[in-house]
Amino acid sequence: MSRKEPALELAGVTCGYDGRAVVHEAALSLAPGEFVGLAGPNGCGKTTLLRAASGVLPPRVGAVRLFGRDLYRDLAPRDVAKALAVVSQDLPVDFSFTIEEVVLMGRTPHLSWFGWESRADLEVARKAMADAEIAELADRAITEVSGGERQRAFLAMALAQEPKVLLLDEPTSHLDLHHQVTALSRLDRLRRRDGLAVLAVMHDLNLAAEFCDRIVLMRAGRLLADGPTSQVLTEGRLAELFSEPVRVIENPATGRPHVMLARGRGAGG
């Protein structure tokens, strides 16, 4: 695997539902170790793009490549799952598995056909739970924990797959301020330590600005901008994208771009 080869690549991907395209000619490349944020207004196709990238929505046009190999044509779901993991926005859970059992499900692509976990698998699961900081809740039922804890459990499940690429759909949407920062810091740490390529759909631009090396902006199914955070998050571009005037300053505490409202309470309309 050459250093130049992207971990995940979307090439001219057009995909959608019921014959209607939602994402048009998307081209995106994710390198190992990168933390890329994907942002845009509601309904612009972020989740659809993520689904195409994760292997569950075959594109009508174009290709998705995982380490150079076509994800849909050349790889079986098992092979994909060994290298790519997804943390969804929220999984409705009716069945009361314990957190440990859920995390162990992350080992599915690595298990033999007979499907019993070995001691090594248990080790991986324990490490994943520790990384996600949920080890102390291992024996609790997943139906009994809070939303934030559930999210950490699913993160642990994804990490148990020992992926090289991690896709997240709004990983901080249910969390309070402290946990938002903690969650993203955790992700950041992990990807630096293990060389994970991370692509996260983010709705909070400031959090994205803090933690992502690169931001990709999307509108109406098309990728508008793709580049280093400070270059992409400009006032003009953001105002046009969200139809809302903003000001972008430098966060004095962190040195990263910070997006502020330009129109507050006093403004009518």
Binding site: S54, G55, A76, A81, V86, L91, F95, E100, L104, P109
Partner: protein, 333 residues
């Protein structure tokens, strides 16, 4: 983790012991009181053999329906699903009715089970085809198709029953008796075939049980975890339908087992299907053997038997009421 494994072993042992106890007890009890000495002296050629065959098929059918219930509840992600929800039972019922009314039963001993099985199989294929949307078979689509096909076939069946009722006393009673379920199986070869098929089916389901755990998370998460979701669904659908079809073919429609037993076992043992499946199978066997024993002894005074479907319904109804009340108390406390 070890605690769960420990629990599984204990549950399996306890259930096996219970099954052995109940099955043995069932041999000594029945419509007619036969003193144990005489019973044993008669050997398998007499009343003992009669009861033994019923206990045997009861174990087989109880295990099959419970396993099928577990499978469908997982694949459909609905803890109230049961083996008959996808229309296999209606199709088998129609197959049985057609076989009885056409007189084929007089020609061939296996006509009835064969007719029922073919009916169930064709319905299964029909439902699956109807539910397919492109390359995928969405779960809600399966449910809708199953209910719809079941309703249509059910109405045809009722039509046949209504036109048959006026003239054919025996045919009508055959159909009704079949619709209520009965463990009266006279052919040992049939018992062996059904038993073998169910054993293979349950073992296969057990081997694949982990995939059921993953399926329960949802289809997309399962796909993300590396499962070939459509293929897995097809395999489990076929497995569940075959288990159901074979049971229904042999013993008619025995209701409630496929719903109550998996549900109860899940409440007690948790949702891990590697534990749930074998335990539900054993528990289902116990349930049916007990129900059959009641069916055989309740009307002993008049020399006849209750249809087992009536007994399972009578056992199942109050059970569910109790469940509901318990749940209400829990939510409001």
């Amino acid at each position: 983790m070890t605690s769960r494994r420990w629990m599984r072993t204990r549950a399996l042992v306890a259930l096996s012991a219970l099954l052995a106890l109940v099955a043995t007890g069932a041999l000594f009890v029945g419509t007619v009181w036969v003193p144990p000495g005489e019973l044993l002296a008669g050997g398998l050629g007499g009343t003992l053999g009669l009861r033994a065959s019923r206990v045997a098929i009861g174990i087989v059918v109880g295990a099959a329906l419970s396993a099928a219930g577990v499978i469908f509840q997982a694949v459909l992600r609905n803890p109230l699903a049961e083996p008959y929800v996808l229309g296999v039972s209606s199709g088998a019922g129609l197959g049985a009715a057609v076989t009885i009314l056409s007189g084929a039963v007089a020609l061939w001993v296996w006509a009835l089970p064969a007719g029922a099985f073919v009916g169930g199989l064709l319905t299964m294929v029909l439902v699956y085809r109807l539910a397919r949307v492109g390359a995928r078979v969405p779960v809600h689509s399966l449910l809708l198709a199953g209910v719809a096909v079941g309703a249509v076939i059910g109405s045809v069946l009722m039509f046949l029953v209504s036109t048959a009722s006026v003239e054919g006393g025996g045919s009508l009673r055959s159909i009704v008796w079949w619709l209520l379920g009965s463990l009266q199986i006279t052919d040992l070869t049939l018992l062996a075939v059904v038993g073998g098929a169910v054993l293979v089916g349950v073992v296969l389901a057990f081997v694949l049980a982990r995939d059921l755990n993953v399926m329960v998370l949802g289809e997309e998460p399962a796909a993300h975890l590396g499962l070939s979701v459509e293929r897995t669904k097809l395999v489990f659908f076929a497995l569940g339908s075959l288990l159901t079809g074979v049971s229904v073919a042999a013993c008619g429609l025995i209701g409630f087992v496929g719903l109550i037993v998996p549900h109860t076992m899940r409440m007690i043992l948790g949702p891990d299907h590697r534990t749930l499946l074998p335990c539900a199978a054993l528990a289902g066997a116990v349930f049916i053997v007990v129900a059959d024993t009641i069916a055989r002894t309740a009307l002993a005074g008049v020399g006849t038997e209750l249809p087992i479907g009536v007994v399972t319904a009578l056992m199942g109804g109050p059970f569910f009421i109790a469940l509901l009340r318990r749940q209400r108390r829990v939510t409001w406390s």
